[in-house]
Amino acid sequence: MDRPNPVTPRLLAGFGAAVLFAAVVPHLVSDFTSFQFTQAMAYGIALLGLNILTGYNGQFSIGHSAFYAVGAYTAAILLYHFEWNHYATLPVAALAAFAVGFLFGLPALRLEGLYLALATFAFAVATPQLLKFDALEHWTGGVQGLFVPKPEPLIEGLSADQSLYYVTLAVMVFLMAVAWCLLHSRSGRAIMAIRDNPIAASTMGINTALYKTTTFGISAMYTGVAGALSVFVTEFVAPDAFNFFLAVNLLVGSVVGGIVSIPGVIFGGLFLVFVPNFAQDISRAYPFVPPPWAIFGIFLILAMYFVPFGVWGAVERGFAWWKRKSAAGR
């Protein structure tokens, strides 16, 4: 169960159907809703990074908001100060986040479990203040942040929101496929072996140090790409957007979607965007219900109670149960 989903015709068909469905969505809903879905997909990409690190490699991070910020600011600075093309900033943001993640992974090697979580926590807390730091202010815009315009529509006839939706969808599908290939390769097995039993893994000749730092870098890279996309979506970066709350939110999304899964990140992203809004709508409509974040908390507890392995975990278990049942019925 803790392995990535094997490729079967059914999985491929499901994946294709999901992509097709996603492709028509922006033509069925308003620009605003497309914008929300784009946000959800950007979160989803960040969650994918976190899943690779925490779900598959067993390293804890509550500091992914920092890598998100690295990606976001790399893109914003290139756009604002150097007037780059939007899409050209994506690979640079990915590389920058990879470098930071890899370097952070080096000292993290000496830390396990809770201690690593604390170290990443420190990174998350420090990030907004570093971005406000006087020496960097010329580049980061300090507390006032930076404005960047939305990318122009790629194809005539699409609105800017629809176009960005398709770009984000394409990036997400590509990155999911890459993650899937990675986790099914030799390296993927090594990554998971380190999670399951680090001593056995190193006895087998796996260079655990290299694998752990590289995984940290790859995870940060995914999250950095998500950060860069989030800048295109909101057209603005400011340090206050990357506080510790974001880090916790990413962990919440990861767990709700299913931390040891690839498709689960979509549900995690949708959860992060739509459930707080939904909670607020309920709270506004009915004066007797508790305030929005209390409702959010209730949803979270319900999710943990009813889908303890995340949404995707529940889907998989449902499939397995159905298979067993149909096999028994035959």
């Binding site: 946000q39 507390v143 006032q144 909101t234 970066v237 206050d240």
Partner: protein, 399 residues
């Protein structure tokens, strides 16, 4: 026949709708006016959420009394947690889904920055934003955004002017919070000092909002030989700085930013004796200041609070702020004939000598098509051991 009649009626209706000056009447019906707002009901800045609650309570009262121009106010206030991306999302929701007529009092500097361009591209009035930054009054670049309160740099300039005119051979120490609020004040002050700023400022020290105390900064500033102290701190640190300078018997001309001028929140904890002689700039009637107890505007506010927000902490100046700004919008909409988006913006840009219940006597709201700073005057006051005593004239930056 019937179809032709219907067609004719439809055409006439279309024509009528078209001739209704073809203006953007989004969010306005014959019976309602829809207004959008974001406030930090959660997160680090949620102390300000009382402003959103006060505005909601105010317009509920207005609705109970028959609304504005016979229209009920539908005030939709959403939580953005003081996070800029959330603000973008919530404001897009207000504009695109809820179809509000305009935005009012969206709170916070980074949060409003995030939507500044969006609302101007969409041509949605973005009125009386709740932040003291100075960038909200640029009608040539951002014709749909307007500020409200005196900007931090105006206040800073006021102190600079006072120092230059009243202190002989000033040597100035500045303590500031290391963020946008602190730097806006500092820069306004330095700007007010002009070319001489470099010579006059002998010590300039920052602190982080996470620091435990500012004692060491105060000691260093005393050692620098400064005889003027510009204290740009929030209440907790302001109280520490006042207390410490009192203990070490450093007695400079002590300028305290308005943010911390509350007697209840700052001066009492610091010690009222130690606070004697402090100078601050004010534009709003301080709720804990005894001199306003019998003032008509102040009593109006207390009456409102007791009736519509019972049990609230009357020493919290944010309630007074929320009441004042709601009142301004109420007055503006009452006298606004053209409620299209263009019309609303024109009304906001043509306010003449409006009095608000909790503005200091003599401070009036004025705007013009090239002046998007509604309140831009402050008055200095000195603490006499019991309360703030206004002195000097009203300083109008005349931006």
């Amino acid at each position: 026949m019937r179809i032709r009649n219907m067609l004719a009626a439809a055409a006439a209706a279309a024509l009528l709708a078209g001739t209704a000056h073809g203006a953007d009447m989004t969010g306005i019906t014959d019976t309602t006016i829809k207004i959008g707002n974001t406030n930090p009901y959660s997160g680090p800045a949620s102390v300000y959420s009382v402003i959103g609650k006060t505005i909601s309570a105010y317009f509920k009262m207005v609705n109970d009394m028959g609304g504005i121009q016979g229209r009920q106010i539908d005030f939709i206030s959403l939580d953005d947690g003081y996070s800029p991306p959330r603000t973008v999302e919530q404001v897009r929701k207000l504009v695109e889904q809820e179809q509000v007529a305009f935005l009012f009092q969206t709170l916070g500097t980074p949060t409003n920055s995030a939507i500044h361009r969006y609302v101007n591209a969409k041509k949605v009035p973005h009125l009386f934003v709740a932040t003291g930054a100075s960038k909200w009054g640029q009608p040539d670049k951002f014709p749909w955004t307007m500020g409200f309160q005196p900007t931090y740099d105006v206040e800073g300039e006021t102190y600079a002017k006072y120092v230059l005119e009243n202190v002989e051979d000033p040597k100035i120490a500045i303590l500031f919070q290391n963020d946008d609020y602190g730097k806006d004040y500092r820069d306004g002050f330095l700007h007010g000092l002009g070319d001489k700023a470099d010579e006059l400022v002998v010590s300039m020290l920052p602190y982080e909002v996470t620091d435990p105390t500012v004692d060491s900064q105060v000691l260093k500033m005393k050692e620098s030989g400064a005889n003027v102290f510009f204290n740009i701190t929030i209440p907790k640190f302001a109280a520490q700085a006042i207390r410490k300078s009192c203990e070490i018997e450093w007695k400079p001309v002590h300028l305290l930013n308005n943010v911390s001028s509350s007697v209840g929140a700052t001066l009492s904890p610091a010690g009222l004796d130690c606070s004697k002689g402090l100078i601050t700039a004010q534009y709003i009637k301080d709720p804990v200041d005894p001199q306003w107890q019998d003032d008509a505007g102040f009593k109006e506010w207390v009456g409102f609070m007791e009736k519509h927000m019972p049990g609230s902490d009357l020493t919290d100046a944010n309630y007074a702020y929320g009441y004042n700004v709601s009142r301004l919008l109420h007055i503006m909409l009452d006298g606004c004939e053209d409620l299209s988006r263009e019309g609303i913006m024109a009304c906001a840009a043509n306010l003449k000598d409006i009095e608000l219940p909790l503005l200091l006597p003599g401070i009036l709201v004025n705007t013009a098509p090239d002046d998007f700073y509604p309140v831009q005057a402050v008055q200095l006051s000195r603490f006499d051991g019991n309360g703030w005593v206004l002195f000097g004239g009203i300083f109008d930056s005349g931006k």
